[in-house]
Point group: C2
Chain length 357, copies 2
């Protein structure tokens, strides 16, 4: 079943910044989301909690969720470390017993869980582990720098700033201009949306670059532009390795910096996190990224995607102007405002790229 | 069996730059290496092939190797990607049948190979996968920056330049000065030598930093200095992610740059590899490393370990002087010449570190 209807589990964490997979599902295929489970949620609908998603109900118990008759249960939050909270096991077993499929983006592959796997097999239910990488990824070899497509990677100041969302806002506009564009998903949510991809943070560390390379080689077939979903941040203490491996495997000719305008420290959206790594000015951060690419390939920033969802309209526009001044690049919030400045910048980057080859 | 005698398999690749695990075993515990299998080797002893290891014989067939009566077989080369060449399976099965234990640093865990695992169990033989990481590694949290020990990480211009070897040359000298020093192994060879460690390149990508953090927290107990074995290079297209993740998890206060003086391009020791990523001057490379740490912690270079094994004595000494001029740091080849300049630099770094806290 490729495109089932979902009950999303986001227990204890349904919110604008805490339930990334759930929120992306609601943003990108709301018609397939029947409800969201969170017994602690402040609101009765997705609209109440997120500000979008309309009347999609928030349910307080798993039984209420099952009453919505979903075809599949989607695990919609990714706890730090990506492991399955023990209390959810009962829900998943109950879903399987009722013939409901399971989709998961957790690091712990549910198919490796003997109890769940045996029960699913007995019931003829499919468990889809979006984060399970292919078994035969090679180490990267620099092949991605030779593709004919213009490869654009989103990079960021931090996790969870909108690196995937920014690109999904650009695909249609580029294709509408006649620039054949493909999105290459590198995380479980992107894979859920696109139906293909490789979760680069789930491969064995030596193969991060190889996974990114394979993804770009595949996505580049018949494409003018490949938009590669970025991960993490070069200055994030836990995920920087994934970020750099992805950069060096994907070999982007262009990059888009993604940042949440109100965020000052790495991880400061996360309650209890110490304010430790400051996010520098974006002109400085861009320099760090270009420096990390420089010896491998000449890359350029084509624009900045600024996430302003928690600012007033006036503050958002002021933030955009400030980043334009700081970086000299096209800047927009491609979700809140028009994505056109970034679409135009990528189209222009692609034209320069073609002319230079 | 913690410290068995070994027959080392280095088939087709026994040489100074192509059999890293084998060579380290020969360098660090030659008394336990009974022979090396390589049917293609140019020489009859380790001394002939490597220039060290004395009369350790090179054997042409597995049967000759078994005649040496090893207690264990060690897989002594790490093919790109780390996977088990199919033709070796027969050797390993034969070894198991004769009650000989197996040690492996391959990415493919031999314990996951049903045929080998079942046979080993039946014969009461142990298969040790040095590269199998613990199952419960967390994501990193910056905890390594709070340890009382002075943490020194070796970093490098490329893979296979001597990042582990440099540190192993320093441990005894530091301890002899009264600086309680521990080596923290991050790769299969270091683990083989030390008997503990975590192969950071074998963990799932999201947990590289967490693996390094755990290692430092453990090694720092009761130590004045922790020497963390470096991996890869920030400018290596395939392994840079592991390098940065290790840096951000280990949070070194000091770093030692490791470089092979004759090497001009990343991977140019590897036949057929395209000359693609140039290695910059070490002063420039040091800057790239410091820049990658800067926002997370202030770090410093304490010295340079220059691998000069393929140069004449005069050329080696000239190369050392040139790097001293370029970087302004203490420089030595700690294998060929005295490691004392680096030992003194770390002891001084540790003293500054203690005084500053």
């Amino acid at each position: 079943m490729d495109r089932p209807t979902f009950l999303i589990i986001a227990e204890g964490a349904f919110g604008p910044e805490t339930s990334k997979t759930a929120n992306s599902a609601i943003r990108y295929f709301p018609e397939r989301v029947l409800g969201v489970l969170d017994s602690t949620a402040q609101g009765r609908t997705s609209q109440d909690v997120l500000g979008y998603g309309g009347a999609i109900p928030v349910v307080r118990t798993f039984a209420e969720g099952l009453a919505l008759k979903p075809q599949a249960v989607l695990i919609g939050i990714a706890p730090a470390g990506g492991r399955l909270p023990p209390e959810w096991r009962g829900w998943l077993l109950e879903a399987i017993d009722r013939g409901i499929h399971i989709w998961s983006g957790l690091h712990t592959h549910l198919n490796d869980d003997a109890e769940l796997a045996v029960r699913a097999k007995a019931k003829g239910v499919t468990i889809t582990d979006a984060r399970r990488p292919p078994a035969d990824i090679p180490v990267s070899n620099g092949l991605a720098q030779d593709v004919d497509a213009y490869v654009v990677l989103t990079v960021g100041s931090d996790c969870n700033v909108g690196k995937m969302t920014a690109q999904l806002q650009l695909v249609d506009g580029l294709n509408a201009r006649g620039v054949r564009t493909r999105f290459a998903a590198t995380g479980q949510t992107g894979i859920l949306i696109e139906g293909w991809g490789i979760a680069v943070d789930a491969v064995v560390a030596d193969f991060i670059g190889g996974a990114a390379e394979r993804l770009v080689l595949e996505a580049a077939k018949g494409a003018d532009v490949v938009l590669v979903e970025g991960q993490g941040s070069l200055i994030h203490p836990a995920y920087s390795g994934v970020t750099l491996g992805l950069m060096h495997g994907a070999m982007p000719a262009g990059m888009i910096m993604c940042h949440q305008a109100s965020r000052e420290f790495i991880g400061d959206y996360s309650p209890g996190r110490k304010a430790w790594v400051p996010i520098p000015k974006l002109s400085e951060l861009n320099r760090i990224y270009l420096d990390a690419m420089r010896l491998l390939r000449v890359s350029e920033f084509v624009g900045v995607a600024l996430n302003t969802y928690d600012l007033s309209d006036a503050a958002a526009k002021a933030a955009i102007r400030e980043v334009e001044r700081d970086t000299g690049l096209p800047v927009t919030d491609p979700v809140r405002y028009s994505p056109e400045p970034l679409i135009a910048a990528i189209a222009a980057g692609h034209a320069r790229w073609k002319a230079s080859r």
